[in-house]
Subunit: 414 residues, 2 copies
């Protein structure tokens, strides 16, 4: 069975059948929520059907996804998700928290959370017969699309700003995507990809534009439900910390929990905290103003994956916090770098945009938004190997010595 029944606009509430819309709301351009047939799923599935699945990837949640069962099973496409959850003792003690989990989505096939969205979009492209998929990306979404398209033998075209880290661009090219580096910023790359999509009838994967990205991203909520909420029988709501750029990850995860809640498989919604870099805080600004109007900023942060002037999924991202009793928090670039080193001592290597979520937790604890007995999960959205320059800024340089024991003893003061 396929549970996809249509779209609803997140701004005006208008409903559309699957064939009446592709990207955003035809009336007001609002982000569309994909609607799945909750009653039908409820009739046909129990939580145990999911929990007993022998598939350890996002595809265990196929009954809750708006797509048919894809092929390409013995490929990286089929290996997305079901990322590990750690319970880091040292950090738990440092923060004086009783229950802390870290979910490492840097362990995905192309080393970022974005594989979830790209895999679902590639599956959708196959279904609707789109031969080329296009996206704009600061790097992770592009690498994810390039990797997932490669795994499924599909063509991908990527627009990235010329300033994207070379590690991310090399990955796009290795996956065989056609890559255009746009002499401009992410927003210009985004606009150009949409124009190209319209002009050449390419299927556009853009974050906060294609409604199916959030459907891929919601699988992280399902995993948190299965890996943390259910087994730990929490007596307080889980507090989830997510870094926010365009806002599509946080809104996708919110959507996942809403689906579970609607199915009555989840009794209490988690509280969702959105963390933004101070230099790219459009949604956090709106939160602080208690407004739903998201105003563009001139983004400036070293966390390139969340450096965005005008978030493409701002409204839903804002509501992910306001509707769940969470909040938005801003953190400095220095706090983001420090957080890389804190996560590192537990053996977790995060890129700046990912460590941002942990920096937000540190601030939330410090400011009293999180209490000792509040259970917390921090989502790591990308691997530190994606941006080693930033990692090098987060730590002191290594000691260079001559290759002999005397030099070593001197360096060790022994």
């Amino acid at each position: 069975m396929v549970s996809f029944i249509g779209y609803q606009c997140s701004v005006c509430g208008a409903n559309y059948s699957p064939n009446e819309a592709i990207y955003t709301c035809p009336k007001d351009g609002g982000n569309l929520d994909v609607q799945i047939d909750i009653e039908k799923i409820k009739d046909q599935y129990q939580p145990e059907d999911i929990k007993n699945s022998s598939i350890f990837s996002i595809w265990r949640y196929l009954p809750l996804l708006p797509i048919k069962e894809p092929s390409y099973k013995e490929t990286p496409f089929w290996a997305v998700g079901w990322t590990p959850v750690y319970s880091p003792e040292v950090l738990k003690n440092e923060l004086n928290l009783e229950k802390l989990w870290i979910k490492d989505d840097g362990r995905n096939p192309t080393a970022s959370f974005k594989d979830r969205a790209s895999a679902v979009v590639v599956a959708r492209a196959k279904e609707i017969g789109a031969e080329i998929i296009v996206t704009a990306s600061t790097g992770n979404a592009g690498a994810a699309l390039a990797g997932m398209a490669a795994a499924a033998n599909h063509r991908a075209v990527i627009f990235a700003p010329k300033t994207a880290p070379s590690a991310k661009v090399a990955q796009l090219l290795v996956f065989g995507a056609q890559v255009f580096l746009v002499d401009g910023n992410y927003d210009q790359a985004f606009d150009l990809s949409v124009q190209a999509s319209n002009e050449f009838r390419w299927y556009c994967r853009n974050t906060g534009y294609n409604p199916f990205t959030a459907e891929g991203k919601k699988t992280a909520a399902f995993e948190i439900w299965e890996q943390v909420i259910e087994p730990n029988k929490l007596d307080k709501p889980l507090n989830i910390f997510i870094s926010v750029g365009d806002g599509n990850i946080i809104s996708g995860i919110h959507k996942g929990f809403k689906d579970l809640f609607a199915l009555d498989w989840l009794k209490e919604m988690p509280r969702i905290f959105g963390i933004q870099a101070e230099g790219s805080a459009a949604i956090a600004n709106a939160f602080d103003d208690a407004s739903e109007e998201i105003k563009a900023v001139s983004a400036d942060t070293l966390a390139d994956s969340i450096s965005v002037n005008l978030p493409r999924d701002g409204l839903r991202a804002l509501r992910a916090a306001t509707q769940t009793g969470g909040r938005y928090i801003k953190v400095s670039d220095q706090a983001i770098l420090n957080a890389i080193a804190r996560l590192g001592i537990e053996g977790i290597f995060a890129e700046p945009a990912a460590s941002t979520a942990y920096a937000g937790l540190e601030k939330a604890v410090e400011e009293g938004f999180i209490q000792k007995d509040d259970p917390v999960l921090v989502l790591i959205t990308g691997s530190g190997l994606k941006d080693v320059k930033a990692a090098a800024m987060a730590v002191r340089e290594a000691t260079v010595i001559e290759p002999n024991l005397d030099a070593l003893k001197k360096a060790l003061n022994k």
Copy 2:
């Protein structure tokens, strides 16, 4: 139960009890094979006990490992191994092979195969009460030790050559290891780490020196047995392609299959192919000479993880091929780069030392060592994100364009 019963020298055959040796053979310096109590394991376990395990990491093979059950279960330490196996259709067709699998060990917690060895060595260090673990590493082994030690709250000291890629060094530092960059080559870093280990009583993890590294590495053989050999009921022996530097990965995997064979859980040994870069081919040279004498070379290859003058585990590495009906193959740096791009089109991103194994398969097919109906598995030992400079050399540069549709059309010739 713990199955560890002693060591046997791979050169002179002398046996030692667990307390009579630590690193290499006290008599001749030969590499020691860890011996496990095959009869006891056979008595107490059936293959099904392993196959029904709910642990999806190397720790599902604990009964076959020479260590006690470690703690640190909700950490990256516990998440090592059980890496995905893909069956890439396009490459299968390109090579005209009926059965081709690629096992991606770049999907390990620190993005390389070396996590397997480091996790087992850290567990061993805990058991014997060693407070500091030291290693020399071109990068991956160091990152793996640093990451696994961090996850288990253990101290690590790493010696790396000053020329190691910055991505790899940043990862060591982020994991909180004490890092010394040695102004010399890998071999000098190796010697210094051994001296430091003796001088300061640090536990030395060095590849081809500490016998427990191969015990960690043998888990990949167990996974290949469980993921490929058993479910596919192969009627010909599996041909496994492994890139070789120091020789410890190939000898560890050989050891794993020997353990399974001794247990009678494996009916037919796979054929093991060792692939070396032409510029670092000490073991392949010995193979070509039909000699067991491994002569040092002056290593020069862009595949830094397998760039070694005198392999530290050369004899066992050679025998992994000669004793299984496999062989050694040399490939050029250009073939190694080309292989990165071939793997990429299936969504698999490999570092040069990892793509070397695939380049070896291409040559083996070309030279007739592999026939159409020979089942083949290629092991990818590290992620391409570890060395993006090399990846960039493997592909054409991206096209830079102005952020408008006209510029795009021009670039597309539309």
